[in-house]
Assembly symmetry: C2
Homo-oligomer: 245 residues x 2
DNA sequence: AGAAATTTGTTCGTATGTATA
DNA sequence: TTATACATACGAACAAATTTC
């Protein structure tokens, strides 16, 4: 509508209007810009309710359909959650999007297991450095408890579960949300599309009791604040992956 | 919202309805599922054109507006690009979304510069390991050329530019798209919201000629395939950041 | 407890701009 | 240049869930 007006007018004006035209890109982009501004300014905080869709539409000068396109996009990336009859709310929920993105990268960019492992190692390596400094008691206990369960485990599924739990506790203990979010997305992706790999590794390790050894170093190193020990466990774990992938 | 349905109805039914509930999700979710299926099955490849919106709508049994909500969401995360009059195309373009997510994490989760630096270090540390093994001639040359320009640079803006170029070449040389995408998003985020930090670091380094020293080690280490040298440069760089952040 | 108001969920119809053969 | 196919965008309407009084 507005576009037709602009296109209908002479080109000479368009330069002058550039700033305005830029502003009035796609309608749903306006919605996104408005949201971004709210976040960056601190006006919008997690849990806050957005204006009603109709209000947003009229304030931004776009249709409700366009507002909704923006809302759905924000919902998809985990920044908004919509409740029928109630409203749209600011939310912070990136895990799903991250997983989707890593998954899409894997499939669309033709990646392979090696790159996944490299990335995972990258995250865990740094996480260990931070974890030995920052781990809370709860996280240390969780790691040690999972280690105990791992050593007592009798089935493969149990081993997989406690293996994961140890790594998760360690990464969480890093208290770095960039690492944590990426790591969660990566493991979630692996759980869904990579199950066989984790199984092969566990199987290979089991036969040689290297699983317990590396995880003992890893969990205890973190719990004791012993970086060298923790890293040795990590390295031994990934050397194993390298061999059995 | 779906939870409320399930909680409201009896649990006995929910099992039976599971399949049907799955079928009758939200309309725009159907659109996303259809897309996901296409990607995972390999039927949809980057560059491919999607069915026309009307066709999708009728095939999935939803309205065009709902299709469009899904399409806009996919466009936002960089998986679809829409061209009016032409169609919707599969695209692979995560950089913007990644940046948005890191930005949102920073603001909504109350992160700080320290966590950003930790994550950046994490990515670069692993990237260096891979880069010394995999760097192509072009990437080595680009790093060395940027180093030369950095040492000849006279303005702060130039220093910032060539500093960035060296790191970028190194990360790209890792040939790991998980690292690369995260790194690009991180630098893009820093460029937009963190300009002052990079400037402070450059300024601090300038006075002591440590900028050139660490980047020389970094660039040459990578170009020569000398891991120890490269890591020394990286460490010295980040020690500086630690001091001047 | 119940009715009314509010708000999102979803669809349809229509007009219009844009690319392509 | 003209069709045709397609995306863009809006507005109106009703359904469904929630909140409010």
């Amino acid at each position: 509508m507005k576009e037709s007006e602009l296109n209908g007018s002479e080109m000479i004006e368009s330069d002058l209007e550039d700033a305005e035209v830029k502003e009035s890109e796609r309608p749903y982009q306006k919605m996104l810009d408005s949201f971004r501004e709210g976040i960056l300014s601190g006006r919008l905080r997690p849990g806050d309710r957005l204006e009603p869709e109709r209000e947003l539409a009229s304030r931004l000068g776009i249709s409700r359909n366009s507002v909704r396109e923006g809302l759905r996009a924000l919902e998809l990336i985990g920044l908004v959650s919509s409740r029928q009859g109630s409203g749209n709310f600011v939310s912070v929920n990136f895990d799903g999007t991250m997983t989707d993105m890593l998954t899409a990268m894997y499939y669309l960019k033709g990646l392979n297991e090696e790159q996944v492992t490299e990335f995972r190692f990258c995250l865990e390596w740094e996480a260990m450095h931070l974890a030995v400094e920052r781990a809370e008691k709860e996280q240390k206990q969780r790691a040690l408890e999972a280690l105990r369960m791992l050593e007592e485990a009798t089935t493969e599924d149990e081993r997989i579960r406690y293996d994961k739990a140890i790594h998760e506790a360690m990464v969480e203990a890093s208290h770095n949300d960039f690492l944590i979010t990426n790591y969660r997305a990566l493991t979630s992706f692996m759980d869904t599309y990579f199950k066989s790999m984790r199984r092969r590794i566990i199987q290979g390790m089991e036969s040689r009791h290297e699983l317990e050894m590396s995880h003992r170093l890893l969990a205890e190193g973190m719990a004791e604040g012993n970086l060298v020990k923790g890293l040795r466990g990590l390295r031994s774990h990934f050397e194993f992956i390298e061999r059995y992938k």
